[in-house]
Amino acid sequence: MKRMNHKIKGGILISLTAGSVILIIAIIVLILTVIVIQGKDRLTWEFLTSFPENGMTEGGIFPAIYGTALMVLIMTIAAVPFGTLTAIYMSEYASESSVISKSIRFAVRTLATVPSIIFGLFGLGFFIKFVGTGMDNFFLGGELKWAQPNILWASLTMALLTLPVVIVSVEEAIHTVPRELREASLALGATRWQTILKVVLPGSKSGILTGTILAISRGAGEVAPILFTGAAYYLATLPTSLSDQFMSLGYHVYIMATQSANVDETMPIQYATTLVLLLLTFALNLVAVVIRYRFRKNKK
């Protein structure tokens, strides 16, 4: 009898844990299914390539896609080189136990956990009010150009947010380059820098790629940092210079769902926009997961 009880108890507890896993996966599937079903009808080529019309109740989302792509591009240009260099420093130059290395590591981890809205505040306080005003006063004699939200400041703010993503991915990849390869290169007379350029970096290409993809996926989806650093409600033209504002997919979803004049009527557009955003980030994440998985397997 006692043995029976024991088995039943175990069965219940194990199924509880399994149930939790199933629940998590079910939620993922549910979110994906609902958004795909509701959004797929509206998702046409025309929707992707045309401008919003009629006060954003009709038409497409091309400016939002374009704006997101441009923002992500500038962000990548800023974040990936800096992230890669930091990762190289941490794994190749700094000794694991030194104070410098520890504090950089702590800073990177902290950066990864700073709430995204704080980055938005920082972008406003630092880039727009401090750097922007400084640039205006210095170059333009006080004319208002850079001291207001624009795509450059939004992208740089986003770059700060995604920097830890790049650093962590690249560092992880660098650690998988076998020590023997490095030693062989050094034994052949190559300098440390040559070893990094010719051995370490090529060996961690996949990590840089994964980091870039994850950073793009993160940057494309985040809205809070660009709320007041550059995203615009509606623009009739595409951004042509770095001092222009831009439309972004995530911000578009947010304002359409909460501040649009006619929420019910634009429901299909909202679902379709969300679907585009979700597909974009989902696909990027999936690619990153696959690359990393295959990479880890190869190394084993």
Partner: protein
Amino acid sequence: MVTDETPKSGFNKESLKKKFRFSEFISEKIITGVAFLSIAIILLIFIFVFKEALPIFHQAKPKPAKTEQVSDQPETYGAASEGSGTPEVYGTETDDQPEVYGGETPDRPEVYGADTGTSFTAEPEVYDSAMQARYGESTTEAIVGIGNLLGTEWQPVSDNPRYGLIPLLVGTLKITLIALLIAAPIAILAALFSAAFAPPWLRELIKPAVEILAGFPSVVIGFFALMVMATFFQDLFGYGARLNAFVGGVAMALAAIPIIFTVTEDVMTAVPGSYKEASLALGASRWQTAFFVTLPAATPGIFAAILLGIGRIFGETMIVLMATGNAVLISANPFESVRTFAATIGAEMAEVVFGDTHYSVLFLIGALLFIFTFTLNAIAEFYIKNKLIKRFQGKTT
């Protein structure tokens, strides 16, 4: 060993010396410089978020004299206000400024200066009594006094703006509690399944699946909560407000599950195998080992995971902005609308005048959020680093 004593090899001390390569020297210096960038960014975030919040406390000194003057003879205030033509000084005044809220451009203090003159002479009593009620007792209080910040009303856009943070704090805690009560059990149990019961192939599937959930943009989760969950829960429970703390909390749980799961799972797999083997050897079954050995051994890690989860929930903006209704209410009812710190910044920052008191208070909220998440993460890291690693190593060796 090649030294001077073996000249046949063609090497000597000179030729073996490392050649100075300028480009490499520069590259290495650049890398070192870049590496310090993350530290610099953290410091800059600290400095700039606080700097923008500072005017609230900064202007404390000239205030007492002014306050007394005003309470004695309201007319003098008009002069004082006109004297403060610069936007910085103006920015720190907590007076009524409905006009400015209408105007979006930050660079019109002059216009405002003229406006204030009239608006104040029009209703000096209101201002006077408000000032007395709010700052009357204490002469050392800042423009937005501690009393105001600790008040229970958040009405930044009104004739007599009130910046009480208490309702926002209550809202934030409410959301955090709801989200945590949902996310923590699910994430921890799922992690236990993945670490203790799942065969390796299944684990390889569960982990990426959870990573996918972590990859969902928060605006998508917010949208889902707003469109689908809100309606579903309203039909289920039949409450009044469609968007409320409960919907926000459930949505927030979706954002917190991945981080709690990942950290917990990592810690559980790091529990030394000897623990489990000892337990199994003593005749315990697999589930007993999982629940009574692995789970307790991983407790500090689970604690850290929950702290990280709280940090995530505290700072999340888009989900609360979309799913909680954003009404500033103090109530214990989970089915009423709430407003959190992060949502307040997200909703109001776009509409404030740069340099204004409201603007500074929003930055103050940001600074509080930053300190809070920073502390949580530091504690979590301490727990993982010190307690856990020491526990595992100390007992195995």
